[in-house]
């Protein structure tokens, strides 16, 4: 499926809980809170695990801004209530 297709789906599902699979094998679950021409931003359903260390200013605290490249999406679906 094309980037345009996934872009349209992200728009359609804004504000809803989704599961997005990316080509690198990851599964992202969260509520879509922002869609830009090439990225979709999810509000995570659960806080990610903190593995420690100290960053350069970009990092953990920017978690809300963590986006997925729309070009990297392999599949997207709505999450059922069962998941959250």
């Amino acid at each position: 499926m094309s980037v345009q297709h996934f872009h349209a789906m992200c728009h359609k599902y804004r504000g809803r809980a989704v599961e997005i699979r990316t080509h690198d094998g990851r599964v992202h679950r969260g509520i879509i809170h922002r869609v830009t021409p090439n990225r979709v931003y999810l509000q995570p359903l659960a806080r990610r695990r903190n593995l420690g260390g100290f960053g350069y200013g970009f990092g953990w605290g920017w978690g809300w801004g963590f986006g997925i490249a729309i070009g990297a999406i392999a599949a997207i679906g709505l999450l059922s209530l069962f998941w959250w």
Binding site: G25, R26, R39, F54, Y56, G57, F58, G61, G71
Partner: protein
């Protein structure tokens, strides 16, 4: 000790989970998946169709050689440990990373260090980034307090020392741009009202990160800026250098 991740990337760029499998022994009780997610959260690349070109350009710019050279100098300067350093491309599509950080990021632990670099970064920017991150490694080594016991004050001082190290070695123009967000008067006021009541907040708490990054409603990069302010004030009063302060207890910076 630089790890030749350029070779890893040539073979496994498209399969970052496979690549992160090689890091599993360095993280306690974390899966490959959790490691990759965590590194992405700190600026690591997500595979891209032009990505191999990005790797080729980083190789052409001799990034791995520059880091080896700079690490040797820093190790001598601060009597620092020999830890593995991993270099990966940064996330080229992350707008925040590009706009706020010129596409570069890093992540330092007591026993390992990660650099996430864009093809747009200059040699000096990379040296400054390594200086910042490797200074964390040295602070964590010389100051006898385990990361798990860190509270906000420890993080403020650690971050302040790292940017002070960049100032000492490369001058004002290579400081992170948020260091110029506020005047000294504003920083003093922010320290008194917004930061000092929370200095005992544990590193594992959400409040710790919200103050450090200035999220969601506090001044941007609050903790980073106040930490630098506190360390600079101390350095000027004591006429000392960053190297002399690596084992200084965090509490001393408040006297």
């Amino acid at each position: 000790m630089i790890i030749r991740t350029d070779k890893w990337l040539l073979n496994s760029y498209d399969k970052p989970l496979e690549l992160c499998k090689q890091l599993i022994g360095l993280f306690e009780n974390a899966t490959t998946y959790e490691i990759y997610e965590y590194l992405v959260l700190h600026g690591m690349y997500q595979p891209d169709k032009d990505g191999k070109e990005q790797v080729r350009q980083l190789k052409e710019k001799r990034i791995w050689d520059i880091v080896v050279e700079e690490e040797k100098k820093l190790q001598q300067l601060w009597h620092g440990p020999d830890i593995p350093i991993f270099i990966f491309p940064s996330d080229a599509h992350n707008e925040i990373l590009k706009q706020e950080f010129n596409g570069k990021a890093g992540l330092a632990f007591k026993d390992k260090l990660f650099l996430f670099i864009s093809t747009d970064n200059s040699e000096m920017e990379i040296r400054a980034l390594l200086t910042h991150e490797y200074n964390h490694v040295c602070r964590l080594t010389h100051y006898q307090k385990a990361e798990k016991d860190y509270v906000l004050l420890d993080t403020l001082i650690l971050e302040g020392l790292a940017e002070s190290a960049v100032l000492e070695r490369f001058g004002q123009s290579y400081l992170s741009h948020w260091m110029s967000f506020y005047s000294e008067e504003e920083l003093e006021q922010m320290w008194r009202t917004k930061v000092s009541p929370y200095i005992h907040t544990r590193k594992s708490s959400i409040d710790h990160d919200e103050i450090l990054y200035g999220l969601p409603d506090s001044p941007r990069m609050l903790g980073y800026c106040v930490g630098y302010y506190l360390v600079q004030k101390f350095i000027k009063e004591q006429h000392s250098t960053v190297g002399e302060l690596l084992n200084e207890p965090s509490q001393s910076f408040l006297k």
